[in-house]
Point group: C2
Chain length 102, copies 2
């Protein structure tokens, strides 16, 4: 779970996930979308793969990356569980929350 949030913490990695959400792409194609060196992107791929958010498949000389939907959903579910917010929750209908201090 911690790896998941860690992976999601970097804007470039989130953008990569958003791109892969549309379609599978090669490392090179993804890299072209950013103004960063290829090795830097490769490092980001590594973090995402380690977290399980993406998978790689070799196709010729290229590596095709795809998003792993089940893990992505796990991330969302984990965050919802942590904050205990309902899915389609409207502007917070004030679920029961113990007074605590006040």
């Amino acid at each position: 779970m911690s790896d998941l949030f860690q992976a999601l913490a970097h804007p470039v990695r989130r953008e990569i996930l958003a791109m892969l959400r549309d379609r599978a792409m090669s490392a090179g194609d993804i890299a072209e979308a950013f103004d960063l060196a290829k090795p830097t992107l490769s490092g980001h791929f590594s973090v995402l793969k380690e977290a399980g958010l993406i998978t790689a498949e070799r196709r010729g000389a290229s590596l095709i990356y795809r998003i792993n939907l089940s893990v992505a959903e796990e991330a969302v579910a984990g965050l919802m569980a942590l904050l205990r917010v309902a899915p389609g929750a409207a502007p917070s209908r004030r679920r029961k929350q113990a007074g605590g201090v006040r």
Copy 2:
């Protein structure tokens, strides 16, 4: 949005949010739950407050922290939008995803 994910990236901060989800607590009370120095926790509070995830209210010499549900929901909504996963989504009913590479 980036501040939100950044704030959620640290396990201690996530735990703080989970605690505050139950009830509002003073800085000291929260600090007691961790084996960390007070200044360290104070730094975490600062990050969470900056992200809008918590708010502080002074009560005597103490500072009472509360979670900000609407921002918490915004975080969940943001993650769902990024990954485009449905809320109660079962084990991924394979939404349409362009073939892209194959």
